[in-house]
Symmetry: C3
Subunit: 153 residues, 3 copies
């Protein structure tokens, strides 16, 4: 987590564009302290007969669904949420607004870290040394390795 | 939002049937005051080896997942929820119960409007003049246009 | 419900493996008292250009998304959540950890039973005689049949 699901009309984005977009979305979270590998992005391409916007085939509409878990807004003020949404909109702009389609973004603040595992274990606490190591290594570092790295700090 | 995800066995519905179903689902929400374009419906067709119901290939089972955001039940009484579910069941009946399959409907009451954007901006407040204009125009009317329309009211 | 969505790299699991995995996941819930048919499992296979992990094509990464509704953790202690996650991890181990991929499991505790229908009706209350009959029959037994069965108990 976070996980971003992009539902797009068939053929709307090229493989290369998806790659660039995924990198840029990942950058947002790395910028606020998350390990890059926490970020999952996937694209679902649908034909007009499988995707409807207002009851009509969605041929120029993109639906973006985001779920947060590693970090949550919780009781954060509305301004913090707007700031994040606006940052996200700015990042995706060239592929979305810039092309004249309609689009919708929804972020779901899913929040139980106790129901989340990476490679079979609970991710380290927010702001912990362990999390910093996971971030630096960019992988779910196993406990024994983690202990060894901590011993060298 | 709302967004309806229908997971169906491969080939269960024709393109035409999907279109009709999407229109009828959209009608429900228009009937309670939402702009039609708020409603997104999409179909995911799966082969038996990718879709399981009780551990067996789901060849005559339909899974319907609904997420609400533009309007929520919140603290509404159970009766209001049942009423909505029953209305929904009545609408989809010809394609579902009427064909003898098993099916499951689940509505998720996702509720943070501050984490929702249409075409890069927060949708207007529930019951506002702006929302009425969005509904009438059936599109996310940009702010400048919205001001111009309001000036003529 | 529960519903398990497995997002996997294209071709990662065979049809047979998916079947076995679905049965074993279903077993977990049957073991804690749920009717087997409550459990829905589906697999989404994605190409590397449609699925990203840390901004890179997810060629050896599996994303497992679980939603609970028939039973919820609610205020259960963290230990109960860990216990369930660990049980789940043990069940999927041969297809996941045993093959050296990276993976993520997230359980969402979706909890409004009043917004859930099986075959057009609200499922019986937890622990009720009716639920026991649904479990034994392994299908959403209609009310009239349910009354007939109860009369024989």
């Amino acid at each position: 987590m976070p996980i971003h699901r992009w539902i797009i009309p068939k053929g709307y984005l090229s493989a290369e564009e998806k790659g660039v977009l995924s990198e840029k979305i990942t950058d947002i979270y790395e910028g606020v302290g998350l390990p890059r590998f926490y970020v999952v992005v996937f694209f679902v391409e649908l034909e007009g007969h499988d995707f409807y916007y207002g009851g009509k085939p969605a041929k120029s509409f993109v639906r973006i669904d985001v779920e947060h878990i590693a970090r949550n807004f919780g009781d954060a003020p509305v301004a913090a949420k707007k700031e994040f949404l606006d940052k996200y909109e700015a990042v995706i702009e060239p592929w979305i607004k810039g092309r004249g389609v309609d689009w919708e973004v929804q972020i779901k603040d899913i929040c139980d870290r106790d129901l989340w595992h990476e490679n079979g274990r609970s991710p380290p606490a927010i702001g912990s040394v362990e999390e910093t190591i996971w971030k630096k290594e960019n992988r779910p570092v196993p406990d024994d390795e983690l202990a060894a790295i901590k011993a060298t700090l």
